[in-house]
Amino acid sequence: MPSISRDEVAHLARLARLAVTEAELDLFAGQLDQIVQAVAQVGQVADQDIPPTSHAVPLTNVFRRDLVRPGLTQQQALAAAPAAEDGRFRVPRILGEEA
């Protein structure tokens, strides 16, 4: 049966940009292991030649006419920003110290 380790959960949380506590890791590792074992049942069809469905409605490209229409104003776009400066989003540094 498949299983998911505590280290794997820690790695996945890092990939998903989630800071998790040690206590959360303990809890989630057990719960996710149980969930993964249950969902792994879908593996019974893995070898069968069945086309995958990604979407209930068969999608083709959807186009609209290329018309100018109003978007958000700068003020509206920045209204909910955690921090703004000089009419722009202010973000924390994006490069490490050594860069």
């Binding site: 998911i4 249950a38 969902v39 209930a56 920003a81 921090a83």
Partner: protein
């Protein structure tokens, strides 16, 4: 006169047009009810008193001036699930991440409601980002079931279902990704409809699982749900998955069904959704409902849909996978919560700290699960297989609908469980959506209509009726016929048997 808050939406609209009652009086009666009972029920996260009264006043002015009603629901109050944006009020999705967030645009559903003269009372509580089956995952505390305040009102749309059952609103909007409209409807004795995927716009609906999410109507009667369905449905160029086709004639079907004749209608009972794990009182109420359909003239046959057994596992791969991608937008940069921006932490660290503080446990579990399922090396085994299961489920529906007009099952295997009972057991919680998930994966229409009280605990049971894609009206016809027969047999609407709530003064 009957107490205003106990009227149906259709009755309210008619009385407003006939000037028997003003829309302002109707809105005020519901706002007063919210003031009296919502401390106990906690259906609402935000009550929009002033604008609701303004919208009602505008309807009254139309009536006074002799202008035609904006829609058959003009002047009727509604509770809007807090996952749909509405300018001028917060949209939180039940999450700390979006606490106090004021959206800069209206969802198309909101726009249509406002244009129809519907009076939006406020925003309803929900499981965080619609992930859950009990509304216990709201960051702002659980909603309680008006049938028993120690029990859950279903989820994720428990605020909407509880608002209906507590007579705080005659109409509500929900969203259904795996059952979040139908299962809350089932456990609160109310009607909940998931329309065909693509027929109600997702523009302004904060995304959980984009290929499954669908907004729909919630009400206390089948006709009210149909009237609301026709207000919110229709093609929207702002949603690229919106289907450009006429809205199915659901109101006409509800009226036709109310005549009580189902001769010639073929009803298939899904054999997979019975047996172990189903509460005896739920099974008994379901069997009685099927017998009632037979008495109304329907032909009943058993239908096997073997791949439905794999629907739950497939869903818990597809939905978390899409969620892990959709929720990446909550990165603490442009809107929402930001934690740790003290000059020492990098943007990535701020992102991780913010997401850790802003998301609850269930959202974190699903993001991690989705990230796992989409990882290199696991993708084919998990996500790829789940997509194959999705094909098999669509084929089962196709084969079934070649033989029958609609399929039926219990909406959920049990009645409302106690708050806290499944909180520490995610798999037990997930099983509440066992019967509703196939219609999300296949995209077809499905609804839940109350089918009596369970004999083992006296709590409401739901009958699920599934119809082919774009044939939503079939389910409405059968549900309305069943509802009329149920009310006649039981001496009045089931919802009027909900216990009186203690009223705060």
């Amino acid at each position: 006169m009957t107490e205003i808050i106990r009227l149906t939406a259709a009755e309210i609209a008619a009385k407003v047009q006939a000037r028997e009652v003003s829309a302002v009086e109707v809105a005020q009666a519901h706002l007063d009810r919210i003031g009296a009972v919502d401390q106990a029920v906690h259906a609402f996260l935000h009550v929009d008193t002033e604008r609701a009264l303004q919208a009602a006043k505008a309807v009254d002015e139309d009536v006074a001036a002799g202008r035609p009603a904006a829609s058959p629901l003009a002047g009727v109050p509604l509770a809007l699930k807090d996952v749909l944006t509405m300018q001028g009020a917060p949209t939180t999705c039940g999450s700390k991440t979006l606490e106090g967030w004021q959206p800069p645009y209206d969802a198309t559903v909101t726009t249509r409601l406002l244009a129809a003269g519907v009076v939006i009372l406020g925003k309803t509580n929900m499981d965080e980002f619609a992930m859950g089956s009990s509304t216990e995952n709201s960051a702002f505390g659980p909603t309680r079931n008006p049938w028993d305040l120690d029990r859950i009102p279903g989820g994720s749309g428990g605020g909407s279902s509880a608002a209906l059952a507590a007579f705080e609103a005659p109409l509500a909007i929900g969203t259904d990704t795996g059952g979040s409209i139908r299962q809350p409807g089932s456990v609160t004795g109310t009607v909940g409809v998931k329309p065909t995927y693509g027929t109600v716009s997702r523009y302004g609906l904060v995304a959980f699982s984009s290929s499954l999410d669908q907004a729909g109507p919630c009400a206390r009667t089948v006709l009210d749900a149909a009237l609301l369905h026709e207000v919110i449905a229709g093609h929207d160029p702002l949603d690229s998955t919106s289907i450009d086709t006429p809205v199915p004639p659901v109101v006409a079907a509800a009226r036709e069904g109310a005549n009580g004749d189902l001769s010639g209608v073929r009803v298939g009972v899904v054999t997979q959704f019975a047996g172990d794990g189903y509460q005896p009182g739920v099974s008994a109420a379901f069997d009685a409902a099927v017998a009632q359909l037979r008495d109304l003239g329907a032909e009943i046959v058993e239908v096997s849909c073997p791949s439905f057994d794999l629907a739950l596992p497939a869903y818990y791969l597809i939905a978390p996978s899409e969620a892990s991608s959709n929720l990446a937008r909550f990165d603490a940069m442009r809107y929402g919560l930001r934690i740790g921006d003290d000059g020492t932490h990098s943007a990535e660290e701020v992102m991780s700290l913010t997401r850790a503080a802003g998301f609850g446990a269930e959202v974190k579990r699903r993001i991690i699960l989705g990230t796992y399922a989409l990882s290199a090396g696991y993708y084919d085994a998990y996500y790829g297989s789940a997509q194959k299961v999705r094909t098999l489920i669509m084929r089962d529906f196709e084969a079934a609908f070649a033989k029958v007009d609609v399929l039926v099952s219990p909406t959920t295997p049990t009645t409302a469980f106690k708050i806290g009972e499944r909180a520490d057991d995610p798999m037990a919680m997930y099983k509440a959506d066992l019967c509703t998930i196939p219609s999300n994966l296949a995209g077809n229409a499905a609804l839940s209509v109350p089918c009596g009280l369970s004999e083992d605990d006296g709590l409401p049971v739901g009958l699920q009726i599934m119809s082919p894609a774009l044939q939503d009206h079939r389910g409405y016809r059968v549900a309305a016929a069943y509802e009329a027969a149920r009310d006649a047999a039981q001496g009045g609407p089931l919802i009027h048997r909900v216990p009186e709530l203690e009223v705060a003064h």
